[in-house]
Amino acid sequence: MKKSIFISVFFLIAAVSFSFIPVVHGVSDAYKHNIYDPGRQKPTDSKLKVKVGMEAPDFTLKAVAGGTVSLKQYRGKKNVVLSFVPAAWTPVCSDQWPGYNIVKDIFEENDAVLLGISVDNIPTLHSWINQMGDLWFPVLSDFWPHGKAATLFGILRSDGTAERAIIVIDKKGIIRYIDVHNVNERPPLEGIIRELEKLR
């Protein structure tokens, strides 16, 4: 009898606690009802293959605007911020890059470029970023071979999406900052800016 009461209470605690976990937030009306909410995901789901101080692995990806972009093209010229996001048309991702869109001047002051990367294909990314307005930074598709760039960094999740990760690479091609963020939350802007300012 006692055991069954304890089991009931345990499940009650679990159920009540779960019902109070904040939901993932997709707040902009710009996307109307086109956002698919996958619900809360495992915060991280991959094994990082790089670390701060290492040379960043090079990659070449197709850009939504046309052509390709390689990491090495910025070597000796610009600091690079990689913003990997899990998937187009999902809540947190849709409210991330539009914020970066109003801080172009801060990136320029820090001699940095931003590369937005997702494992979605080009047509999907095209439609999605059109909803965001004109983004000033390149958006790259890591669709095929699927998650090639994400795999190089060890941030491809087991469901084929990428982690929500910020990676800062200096002009010498050395990784200076890695934030494999909780996939359910947006990395605060100040984290990126603080790391860029350290490269001055």
Binding site: P22, G99, R186
Partner: protein
Amino acid sequence: MKMMSVCRLVLAVIMVAFVIFPAGISAAGPPAVGGALPDVSLSAPSDRGERSYLGVSGTFKIPQIKAQVLIIEIFSMYCPYCQKDAPKVNELYQKIEGNPALKGKMKIIGVGAGNSAFEVATFKKKYNVPFPLFADPDFKIYEQLGQLRTPYFIGLNINADGSHRIFFSKLGAFEGVDAFLESMIRLSGINEGEKR
């Protein structure tokens, strides 16, 4: 007797959950016209001019703002519509401040849903926002207000006795500044006392 103990335990668990997860408790829906605002606490702005504009200090509740009508914009630095609307909301503020019948009586604040203080400051600087903006980094206010999408506008009548009433509650960018201001004047009934 045993049943009573179990009931007490269940009640205790629910109460503990409310204490542990207050941020997760959200209103049932958007703020309803005719109703009251949830009990939202804010910290007075660090800028003296903004404190004076709102007539507040320390931690305060929204209806303590010294105004007859308060327009609250729920926005986000990350929201494209909010970015596009920012100059229009600034213009709304300027029109209110430039109108002697409204200045000092109708005021505007913004709450950055899920935005840190840095992110709110970035938005404020980018668009030269002249009215006070508040951060809501952990989505606490966003949850209290019923998980509103952005931009969202709430109009509040604040009475001399400290009571208040929501007279406007709407999602989405506004069409025109003049039309929006006209709605605020008409729906709030501001200055009706003077007309009589």
